[in-house]
């Protein structure tokens, strides 16, 4: 809008051919500045509009259509079954168990990684020697690609050669089958915690925006460090924490890390994933690629999509009174 106001003198500017009758002359010399600007906007936005329509909306619509069929990608004898797949899904205990595991994983990994990331941020926000080095080293694991992280954790928690069991036996405990049931879920959560540097960096940017005077005032009032953290830092960071919660939940629900931690790699190894890591997303992959049930798998996808939308909406709704947006223009500077 401000851009419009600024350019309006240019619109009213007399052109050589536009001395009389603006409408006629613009028809002759081409569209007005405003129209040109509108057209230009759509010219610039078009890659995203077209790409989003073809590579996001169209596939989702296609999946919605498939979810009403028995399509398997090979057999020509597929047919329309209406809500049949959805009805099957409702009564499928494997689906519900997988959904429960995904929910549990989100409910543990997201809060834990946010707490860890925030704690690290507070730690490296103090005036330390080699602070930059600590920040870089703590953030580094977040840069490691999922495949690297998966292989690293597979080796770390290997039954025989892993350091985790090495430490356990060193202290006289029994070795644990970390990558099998029921322990695999803990390893999965640990892969998320390993990347907490991500949350640390984002929280750190937020922490540096917290006005110093607030902490000084709190100290003069005799508030403990914990009290100051809870009453000043956390509220001021709450928009960042909300964003981290939402993206964390979405990321955790769609993680493929169980595939990378499985004994057998690739889509062929989907069946080798231990029960405790057989999350909803893995279930979708298994239905698509191990069983080739495109129709049913598409119904699973759409249910997950709607559940994520609902979960995101609920998170926003329940935090609307808690999240504190700093709108004071003085503090913004």
């Amino acid at each position: 809008m401000t851009v419009d106001q600024a350019s309006s003198p240019a619109v009213g500017r007399p052109r050589p051919t536009a001395k009389t009758g603006r409408t006629r002359s613009t028809a002759r010399t081409g569209p007005s500045m405003t129209t040109r600007k509108h057209r230009a906007f759509y010219m610039f936005a078009s890659p995203w509009i077209i790409g989003f329509s073809l590579l996001t909306i169209a596939p989702m619509a296609y999946a919605l259509w498939l979810s009403f069929t028995t399509y398997d990608g090979i057999s020509p004898h597929w047919h329309y079954v209406g809500l049949g797949n959805y009805r099957e899904l409702m009564g499928d205990s494997v689906t519900w168990d997988a959904l429960g595991r995904a929910g549990l994983f989100a409910l543990t990994s997201v809060p834990l990684s946010i707490i860890a990331g925030l704690a690290l941020a507070v730690l490296v926000n103090r005036p330390l020697k080699a602070r930059g080095l600590f920040r870089t080293l703590l953030y580094l694991p977040a840069v490691v690609p999922p495949v690297g992280a998966g292989i690293a954790f597979k080796n770390l928690f290997d039954q025989n050669s892993g350091a985790a069991n090495g430490a356990l036996t060193f202290f006289g405990f029994d070795a644990i089958g970390w990558l099998a049931d029921p322990y695999a879920r803990y390893v999965l959560v640990m892969t998320v915690l390993w990347a907490a540097g991500n949350i640390m960096i984002i929280s750190l940017a937020g922490l540096q925006d917290v006005p110093r005077e607030l902490h000084e005032a709190a100290r003069i009032d005799g508030a403990s460090a914990w009290r100051a953290f809870r009453s000043i830092t956390v509220p001021l960071l709450s928009p960042v924490l909300l964003f981290q919660t939402v993206t964390g939940v979405i990321a955790s629900v769609q993680t493929i890390m169980p595939m990378l931690l499985a004994p057998t790699a690739g889509t062929g190894g989907l069946t080798s994933i231990p029960q405790s890591n057989y999350t909803y997303m893995i279930h979708v992959f298994a239905e698509y690629f191990a069983l080739g049930r495109y129709g049913y798998a598409s119904a699973l996808l759409w249910v997950l999509f709607l559940l994520i939308l609902i979960a995101t909406g609920l998170i926003f709704k329940f935090t609307s009174g808690v999240v504190f947006y700093n709108v004071d223009p003085e503090a913004q500077k």
């Binding site: 590579l55 996001t56 080796n155 350091a163 790699a265």
Partner: protein, 292 residues
């Protein structure tokens, strides 16, 4: 260092509060070093695993350090598969995607930052909302569509993804372009320049920090992506991520753990190096834009 300074020359002159501060600092540094060690541990163990002989990996109790550093594991891992070929595929795909998506996102970002039109607000809302769309959910039906159009085992999916811009990067460019002074395009408009030319000749050359940041982000995404190449490319034409994950298996079907560990180190290190180099660039870019 901190430990020795706790014992000053004349203890009588040091107040208990001073001692407490020093003890606190000692605890703080110890905690930081331990935590940093824990964070580096998994990667360190990966390197150690890559340096062990197979017999050592089977030994009980666990050998913490290799008795003999098998540096040749790295050579063997490189020779066991067409490592260079897979790395080249990764490089090609990541470069194609990163180049295209950087340019297209800058293009779209310019539109959202500098132009107005009816419907822009709604579109911007959709753009921001689409950042929260679960990528994995849209990927699976997209894969089916790519398969239908015969684009499996080609680089076309990455070209199309690149051309269609990425919401996160669009937002990055929008923020940058919105902060540039208005005079930049005004003179050009008076001179009768089109918006396309304004973007190419005036705005794009200004945006090197964001361009390079965007390229690095997109490049590391693609280099790190496992699932899209796993689904879309056949084993021979796949990327290093897929090859490292799936191809280190002996003829008997057992995993070559040490070679895989060595290979994954070689796969991850370039990304870590890019990050360490680009990290300075980010900071430089931020401080220059902060000066304006």
């Amino acid at each position: 260092m901190t430990a020795t300074s706790v014992h000053p020359k004349s203890p009588a002159r040091v107040s208990p509060a001073r001692v407490r501060i020093r003890v606190n600092r000692l605890v703080l540094y110890t905690a930081l070093v331990v935590i940093t060690g824990l964070f580096l541990g998994p990667f360190g163990w990966l390197i150690l695993t890559g340096l062990k002989a197979p017999a050592e990996l089977a030994a009980a109790p666990v050998h913490w350090l290799p008795t003999h550093f098998e540096w040749r594991n790295f050579v063997d891992a490189y020779k066991a598969i067409d490592f260079l070929g897979y790395a080249r595929n990764s490089l090609i795909i990541a470069t194609i995607y990163a180049t295209l998506v950087t340019l297209s996102s800058a293009w779209v970002g310019f539109g959202f930052a500098r132009l107005t039109a009816p419907g822009k607000k709604v579109l911007f809302g959709i753009l921001i909302g689409s950042m929260m769309l679960p990528q994995m959910i849209t990927l699976l039906p997209t894969y089916l569509i790519f398969a239908k159009f015969g684009m499996v085992d080609t680089y076309w999916p990455w070209v199309l993804w690149g051309l269609s811009s990425a919401p996160y990067l669009v937002f990055l460019f929008r923020q940058f372009f919105a902060g540039l002074p208005r005079e930049l395009e005004e003179a050009a408009i008076v001179d009768g320049c089109g918006y396309g030319a304004i973007f190419w000749r005036i705005f794009l050359p200004q945006s090197w920090p964001v361009l390079s940041a965007s390229f690095v982000i997109a490049f590391t995404w693609t280099w790190g992506d496992y699932i899209a190449p796993q689904l879309l490319l056949s084993t021979d034409h796949s990327t290093l991520a897929v090859a490292v994950m799936t191809t280190y298996v002996s003829a008997a079907g057992t995993p070559n753990t040490n070679l895989q560990a060595a290979a994954s180190v070689m796969y991850v290190v370039p990304i870590l190096l890019i990050f360490l180099v680009a990290q300075r660039g980010f900071v430089a870019g931020m401080s220059t834009s902060g000066l304006k």
